[in-house]
Symmetry: C2
Subunit: 477 residues, 2 copies
């Protein structure tokens, strides 16, 4: 506990590697690149995050399912375009023991080709529609680039993928909207500012009609894709022959959507909210919301009473909050340092003075502000403090993301800006693929997409024709 | 819905295959032998089951974690005896895309060799002990025997494995006891009668000092292993060099235990409790505890009022129970048949008569008993009925399992009995390995184990020396 971290968020990459390890979120020393062990503290945060998304999905009529992790290679290869999208990154099982399998198995990178042949069996008539399901499962992509805990991994341990099937194109479009709303609520609960962008056609998810991405900006200026919502149209329906008999008696292909997020969302919240002291958890995902620290003095006759009070407070507050007390033999200063680094939003100090006055010193992790609170007011005050912290975390992150977005009218300036500070640069765009692709080359960065709802003024930065949208560029994880 | 199943539990295998499919628990048509798709109704039951075990583990200080699914072959091979135990059944990833991996990856059959090298990094002093963790994850065994949904599968989708580390042999022994207690409570909540047996030394889990199995008997007379609790001693500690500095300043190897269960537990509950009409869910794992069926008559002016009442009852009862109402256009008879097959414990019928009298016909799935219940008493009565059903399910299953156990004094009679009716046969045994193995040959069945607490009278069925225990035999899944 006496370790000093010397954290500086300015060097984000080092900050991240140090803090996820120190704070017991994950273990990075697992002997396989890109695979991480989730420790109890980190896994508790992940579970809290999943609870939020599960609730949002359950409330909107999605049902949880589970599909197998391995799929015969022939089945996976049925959608050739889709396969190509993952081809280099899919893991293949070829042996059981030392026996070579008759047919190789693909380890799912995502479950379209696993689920959709089953949909073809399940769906007969319009009465079977819509289907709205999800699963929370590990998926695998054999990343060869730099791996990074939560952000770029080979085993995504909790991929949440929703898949829906509909009778009409209109319903699928409406479902895409519902997906966008669900994720918007989700990221809002996590206090993550985000942009919803439409992916340019040449970067669209394999097998999709069109897709939206939720993106945000990380402390190092890199752009992070948080999740996507995809309208699959009828592409998979035609490959896997998913048809239904409609009310008019005619056989029709179904319309599909899918949307997914992962533990990246947790990573994004932690990366955006932390500071040079370490993590700061937003209240909904904090495994410990309140830490109670006894302030003991050697040989003090009041020590036992202080400890009894600490336990009493813990018991009382546990009815409304996730509370721990630190009864280790470290010094109060060491404890403060430790729990600040672990990102616990609220600290309560209980010493001799507090015991007498029945007023406790409450410290807020984000601002460092301290306030004396009477015992009877503790519970309601903590609620207020948590809201205050959440609100500050969001405001600061929102400010940061806004300031990382810059508008330009020509690609040269945009390129320079990106080189200097990263973040996101926006350029007016006519909407044509050729222009977009040319801009990617000139800006020297991938096109992220555009906000459909923000119509551009001025001329396309490439062809000079009237611009429709602002195309965004940035370096991604 | 109009399908007639013609179920007969006497032909258990066919009964099982038909009912898991009809009741929408799982999809058996996934194109990979031994892999199954969990549908929403089945997955909901599985989640309810997991909630019970999670609560029992959390209450006893176990913390949830997650360890990677793939492990480099060299690491897995470190415990050679252990590897041999799974050797033929482990899946091996050898390729990413079309690129051959430098080192093959093992797909975890269970996580000892994945977790324990990490323990070696985490544990320094006695202060770091005990460690009590668990994870709920898919594990894989490439079964080549007959596969069967939930009972014998290649992908166990929700393996719950707990692993603990201790400073002394005594603590590890005590932990084994705690494991036995946790699982005993768990199976009691599921209303599964069980035997706890100690595995004979020649059948012990690879790498274990000794282990206990929870077993029960299935309707076809086969014995089902429900879970095991294992004292690992210091075997893995020595292989993976897991040491700690004790209070006395000396370096010592740790002592370990592990215990696991899977979705087999759900399978066992369903197999034991069902009847010729289909499933019967015990209350704790019933995805739907109460189904409300409106009894409508063509052109009846009361129909709308009946439907309104059904929705009102559903809303009120949902505060305390998992409730659905069936508003489809099937006939009441079809609905009764359908929800009985799906195993919903309580059915409420609401027709014109009921609407007037405010007394509703409540039917109990297990006995078929019907009772009129006044609206104001519904909630409390349903609680009582669910307890009654649970109690009956357990009593009947207990009777069945008891009657499937037969004691003999010689192997010849035991063999005949097993051939005739399966179940479990017991023979007095001196405790020596030679005698046990000989008895296996003569009985023509594997030794399951013995109840340590039931001391035998009489002579060993093999050598004639005084018997210590009763060794049990049976055909297992």
């Amino acid at each position: 506990m006496a370790v000093k971290l010397n954290l500086s968020k300015k060097n984000f990459s080092e900050w991240w590697d140090k803090i996820v390890f120190y704070a017991d979120l994950i273990e990075e020393r697992f002997p396989l690149k890109g695979a991480y062990v989730w420790k109890p503290y980190g896994f508790a945060a992940l579970k809290l995050m999943l609870k939020i998304i599960e609730k949002l999905l359950d409330e909107t009529g999605h049902k949880e399912t589970y599909f197998p992790i391995f799929v015969p290679a022939s089945l996976f290869a049925k959608e050739k375009e889709f396969l190509k999208g993952f081809g280099g990154e899919v893991l293949r099982v070829t042996k059981a023991g030392h026996h070579v399998l008759d047919e190789e198995l693909i380890v799912r990178p995502t479950s379209e080709t696993i689920m959709y042949p089953m949909f073809a069996l399940w769906i007969r008539s319009w009465r079977d529609l819509p289907i709205k399901i999800y699963q929370i499962v590990p998926v695998f992509r054999w990343e060869t680039k730099m791996t990074k805990a939560m952000f770029r991994v080979r085993e995504i341990v909790r991929f949440k993928e929703a898949h829906t099937v509909h009778a009409t194109a209109e319903e699928a479009r409406a479902q895409t909207e519902e997906g966008l709303q669900i994720y918007s609520k989700f990221f809002t609960e996590l206090k993550i500012p985000f942009l919803i962008i439409k992916t340019p056609i040449w970067e669209t998810f394999p097998g999709a009609e069109y897709n939206y991405d939720f993106i945000t900006v990380m402390p190092d200026g890199k752009v992070l894709e948080l999740g996507s919502v995809i309208n699959l149209g009828q592409k998979f329906a035609k490959v896997f022959d998913i048809k239904f008999k409609d009310v008019d008696g005619k056989e029709k292909y179904v319309w599909q959507t899918c949307y997914g997020i992962s533990e990246r969302s947790l990573g994004a919240a932690l990366a955006l909210h932390g500071d040079d002291k370490g993590l700061i958890f937003a209240s909904k995902i904090a495994p410990v919301q309140v830490i109670i620290v006894p302030i003991l003095k050697g040989g003090n006759s009041e020590n036992e009473k202080i400890l009894a009070k600490v336990k009493e407070l813990k018991e009382n507050l546990s009815k409304n909050f996730r509370v721990e007390c630190d009864l280790s033999d470290a010094s109060p200063g060491e404890k403060f340092y430790h729990w600040e680094a672990k990102g616990v939003p609220i600290r309560i100090e209980v010493g001799e003075k507090e015991l007498k006055s029945k007023e406790y010193l409450v410290a807020l992790r984000d601002s460092g502000r301290k306030e004396k609170v009477a015992e009877k007011d503790l519970s309601s005050k903590i609620s207020t403090f948590l809201e205050e912290i959440d609100s500050n975390l969001y405001k600061n992150a929102e400010k940061f993301v806004k300031e990382a977005i810059h508008s330009f009218t020509n690609t040269k300036n945009a390129k320079e800006e990106l080189k200097k500070k990263k973040g996101i640069v926006k350029l007016p765009w006519c909407g044509e693929t050729d222009c977009g692709k040319q801009m990617e080359i000139e800006v020297d960065a991938g096109a992220l997409g555009y906000n459909e709802k923000e119509h551009a003024t001025g001329k396309c930065a490439k062809c000079g024709k009237p611009a429709k949208w602002y195309l965004m560029f940035g370096k991604t994880y």
